[in-house]
Symmetry: C2
Subunit: 197 residues, 2 copies
C-alpha cells in the first residue's frame, strides 16, 4: 500500500529542490511519499543528467564580482551557461554570487584539478611520500592518495567544501544548478585579489 | 599692482583642485589672482611632487570592481596608496572607480609600458618598420616611434586617453590623485573579463 502523493507534497518538494513538477511527482511515488528519499532520488537524477549535459556548448553566462567590506579582498568570476535566458535567471545569479563568496572566503587557486600544473602535483606527491616513509607500500599509497585528495580539496574550487553548506562540495552545488536550470554550466575562470599579496 | 587674493578665491581653488590651503594661496598670488593659471601652476607642482613620491612604499589601498550592465564585462583592480586613511577617502575611491570604468571601456592589456613583454614590442616595431620601407631613414625612424607610442597608448592603461576627460591621459589623472592625496599611488594590477572571450 503506497502513500498517496498529494499536490501539496509535490509543491513542497519543488520548493526545496527546484526540480520540475513531473520529476518531483515521480520521485515521491518512487520514495513512497518520503520527501527526504525523494530528494536523494532527484539529486541522483540531477547528477546523471548533469553528466549528460557536460558536452553542450556554453557561450552565455555572467561575469560577477564581490568586494569584501573594506575593499581588501575582491573576486571576479565568469560562469558560462547555454542561453542568456538562464544567465538572467535569479537562481543562476544567486549561484554565481555564492561562488564569489566562496572564492573570497577560501582562496582557491584553480577551478578544477585538471588545471593544476603537473609539477605542482608531483611536488605534493613527493612531500606526501616523504611523510609516509617506512609504512607498508599499500598503506603508504593510500595515505599519499588521501593527502593528494586533501590538497585538491584545498586549492581547487569545485573540490572544496561549500562554505554555506559544508556537507556539500562546490561540485555538488554546480550539479544542482545544472539540474535546476537544465543547462550545462561551466565555471570558466576567476581571479581573487588580496591587498598587497 | 597685484589683485588681492581673497579667502573666497582660495576656497574656490581648493574646491576645484583639492590642493592644500597654502599651495592654493601661493598659486593665486603667483598667477595674480587668475584661477585658471593658478590651476596650471598647481598641476605642474603636483606633477613635480608626484615624481618625488614615486619611491614611497604603498601597502594600503583598495580593491574595486565594476560589472557592466548585463554582466557581460567585468573589471577587478587593485590600487595601492600609503595609508588606510587615504584608501578610505572618497576622492581616492572615486579615482579607483574611474579606473574601473576606463578599463571596462578601453580594454587595456597592461598597466604601463614596462609591463609589455619585449617580444611584443619587437613585433610592433617590425610591423611599423615594414610600413615605412622606402622612406628616408630619419623620417622612417620618427614614424616608427610614433606608431609605437600609438600602440602603447592603446594597450597601456596609464598611456591611454582618460575616457571621462579625453584631453587628459590616465597618467595625468594619476598624477592629480597623487597631488590631491599627498601620497604615492600605484595602480598595481587589474583584470578584465569579457564573456566568452
Amino acid at each position: 500500500m503506497s502513500t498517496p502523493v498529494t499536490a501539496q507534497m509535490v509543491n513542497e518538494l519543488r520548493g526545496r529542490t527546484g526540480a520540475g513538477l513531473l520529476d518531483c511527482k515521480k520521485a515521491l511515488v518512487e520514495s513512497n511519499g518520503n520527501a527526504e528519499e525523494a530528494i536523494i532520488i532527484l539529486r541522483k537524477k540531477g547528477a546523471a543528467s548533469a553528466a549528460k549535459k557536460a558536452d553542450r556548448t556554453t557561450k552565455e553566462g555572467l561575469i560577477e564580482s564581490y568586494i569584501h567590506v573594506g575593499g581588501k579582498v575582491g573576486v571576479l568570476i565568469e560562469v558560462n551557461c547555454e542561453t542568456d535566458f538562464v544567465a538572467r535567471n535569479d537562481g543562476f545569479k544567486a549561484f554565481v554570487r555564492d561562488l564569489c563568496l566562496q572564492i573570497a572566503a577560501t582562496s582557491p587557486l584553480y577551478v578544477s584539478r585538471d588545471q593544476v600544473p603537473e609539477p605542482e602535483i608531483a611536488k605534493e606527491r613527493e612531500i606526501a611520500a616523504a611523510q609516509v616513509q617506512g609504512k607498508p607500500p599499500a598503506a603508504a599509497q593510500k595515505i599519499v592518495d588521501g593527502k593528494l585528495e586533501k590538497y585538491f580539496s584545498t586549492v581547487c574550487l569545485v573540490d572544496q567544501s561549500f562554505v554555506k553548506v559544508p556537507e556539500k562540495s562546490v561540485k555538488d552545488i554546480l550539479t544542482e544548478a545544472i539540474a535546476r536550470t537544465g543547462e550545462n554550466i561551466q565555471i570558466r575562470r576567476f581571479v581573487r585579489f588580496q591587498l598587497g599579496s
